[in-house]
């Protein structure tokens, strides 16, 4: 990475820095206000309870970096839980095969959406909206009821805890999420594909003129998002031990919110995968704080997330102001 790109990126870092500072401030606030808040397990629980969101949001980060959006992820998560539960419970397929199948299916679903978006110049928003309908509808085609999973492999993985220091422990799902996060960091900053993603997000036209494989990048990004959604669905299956068409409703919004709060620009081209981890943790922390407080109703979660989203979007606009191309609608 040349000094110039570092400098260019360095100029745009403030949103990420703001997210990290805010996260630390919230941790400090919680630790001072509530007893028992500052413990290793509370923070590991953040990871355990939001493992699937982290995975989905990491996939979403790549899509948003190219300037697109993927609204189908929540439904793909639900469809994955449904297909896994139906195949494992009703057809008695081996869990390994089922997981491989849903991961491939999710990637294919994403790739198809990416192809439609790129080939026919359709709006990402509306294509993935239709994908959202389709995946959610397919859930109900399989079954309108919840299917609980009793398969020994699934339950064993779901209950397994990996002990860490001082009696704290992590679930298998959160470990998988952390591994995926590491892989995504490498893809974004260490591979040609990652650089293409930033280039396409910066300016698709320029990327095309530079001879970069724009089509492959766009399709690849949506395929990766589909893969992440399916993997998130597998983790969600471990977490809930059931398949249900109403699982993960609105998760796409949480994922988008984490990406934006993590400092990624919605216009594309600017942002860090690491920021998304920060955003996911912040969403989790808001929920934990509201739980610890006890006097606020759960509805406040949404309002606080909305307010945070607004604050970060406005912050982004302020840092962007000087840059050309900020188009007033």
């Amino acid at each position: 990475m040349t000094a110039m790109t570092l400098k260019a990126r360095g100029l745009r870092i403030p949103p990420v820095v703001a997210s990290v500072l805010l996260l630390l401030a919230m941790v400090a606030f919680g630790s001072i206000m509530y007893t028992g808040f500052f413990s290793a397990q509370v923070f590991l629980n953040l990871l355990i309870d939001n493992a699937f969101l982290l995975v989905v949001a990491v996939g979403m980060t790549f899509v948003i970096l190219t300037g697109g959006i993927d609204l189908s992820v929540g439904s793909v998560v639900a469809l994955t839980t449904m297909v896994s539960a139906a195949l494992v419970e009703h057809r008695h397929w081996p869990p390994g095969v089922v997981i491989a199948l849903v991961l491939a299916g999710g990637s294919l679903f994403g790739a198809l959406q990416g192809w439609l978006i790129h080939r026919f110049r359709l709006q990402a928003f509306i294509v993935t909206l239709a994908g959202m309908f389709l995946a959610r509808g397919l859930c109900y085609v399989i079954s309108i009821d919840s299917i609980s999973i009793t398969d020994p492999t699934f339950t064993a993985i779901a209950q397994m805890r990996v002990p860490l220091f001082g009696g704290a422990a992590l679930s298998v799902g959160s470990l998988i999420a952390l591994v995926l996060f590491g892989v995504a960091l490498f893809i974004a900053h260490g591979t040609a594909f990652g650089r293409n993603v930033y280039a396409v997000g910066g300016s698709e036209h320029s990327a095309l003129l530079m001879g970069l494989p724009v089509a492959r990048t766009v399709v690849g990004v949506y395929a990766f998002s589909g893969f992440c959604a399916a993997l998130g669905g597998v983790l969600f299956t471990f977490y809930m031990l059931s398949g249900y068409g109403l699982h993960a409703t609105g998760m796409e919004l949480d994922a988008i919110a984490s990406v934006v709060i993590g400092g990624t620009l919605l216009a594309g081209g600017v942002g860090l995968v690491a920021g998304t981890l920060c955003g996911v943790l912040m969403l989790g922390l808001i929920q934990t704080l509201i739980t610890f407080d006890g006097s606020l109703s759960a509805w406040w979660t949404k309002i606080v997330i909305g307010a945070l989203l607004l604050a970060f979007c406005l912050l982004q606009r302020l840092t962007q102001r000087g840059a050309p191309g900020g188009e007033p609608a």
């Binding site: 949404k302 606009r317 007033p328």
Partner: protein, 374 residues
Amino acid sequence: MNAKDTPVAALSTAPQCGPNAPPPPDALWRRTARHPLVWPLATLALILAVNASLSPGLWHLQWRDGHLYGSLIDIINRAAPLAIVALGLTLVIATRGIDISVGAVVAISGAVAALMMGDELKIVDGQAVHLSHVPVAVAVLGALAAAGLCGAWNGLLVARAGLQPIIATLIMMLAGRGAAQLLTGGQILSIQYVPYFAIGNGFLIGLPVAALIALAVWGGMTLILERSALGLFIRAIGINPRAARVAGVRSRTITICVYAFCGLCAGIAGVIVSSNVKSADGNNAGLLMELDAILAVTIGGTLLSGGRFTLAGTVIGALIIQTLTSTIYAIGVPPEINLVVKAVVVFVVMLLQSSEFRRQLRALALRPAPGASR
């Protein structure tokens, strides 16, 4: 509303015709086939025909208890809230925006109306009568004001702060839903005040009040947009916001007003819905309605990329969606399949709207036998 009447819209449709289109042998037929409302109308006719073949009672209308009664009236009545929301959304989409918060605003408006009326039981002449804190008109106005404010806030974020429309309205969708749940305490507030029910269930001159309200909104919008330059301005903003502003269109003010109007429409729909089901549900009222509304707008022929809109098409689109839903019920398949059908419809409609796709289709159709009928 013929999009070809306005020069700006004609500009936007011009590239689709293509310079190499062969001379029309039957110009009248071609002109008809190219009219923007033909395809939505054909779709509606097709679905109605399928529905009629499945449930023969569809066309059966009768006069009962002083009003019209029948499946068709039922469809129109149920489509009314969706049509009103979609009409407001049409203008937002025409300015190249989107509003995904309409569902949350529907919930807020219902909750505000329910809270303002409250629930007071009084004994009058030995009978238990439910009273309202405020007259119905005040409650409705309060609900509409709240909804309009939500919309204006969206507009401010889009036009003043320069946020992307989808994000600005995403914020409202999240926080608005939370606010609606907060207002109702996460429960279903039941509404007992009888005069309020007339809005969603009543009949006037034999027709459902809800449908009449939708008709009034449609008529009023058509009048204002066609009889003033406002429609032209909105199209101009959608085609190129910067050029419109340079040309002297007050695009920021108009954008804010358009979003506020969309919120207002969602508020009207919220009042109708809450009156129809006699309760305000913060959790589920208007849930996923934004998707249905966007679908209705697209099916109607409004371009999602802005610059071209048709109000009549949107109304037809809302009717198509409601007819589709009742047809699916009539066929007897589980209503959940509805989502899959809708998804397929969206995919088909958006592919047909894509000029790339049409070019490819034309190439495919022409390749085997050039000059063959197409």
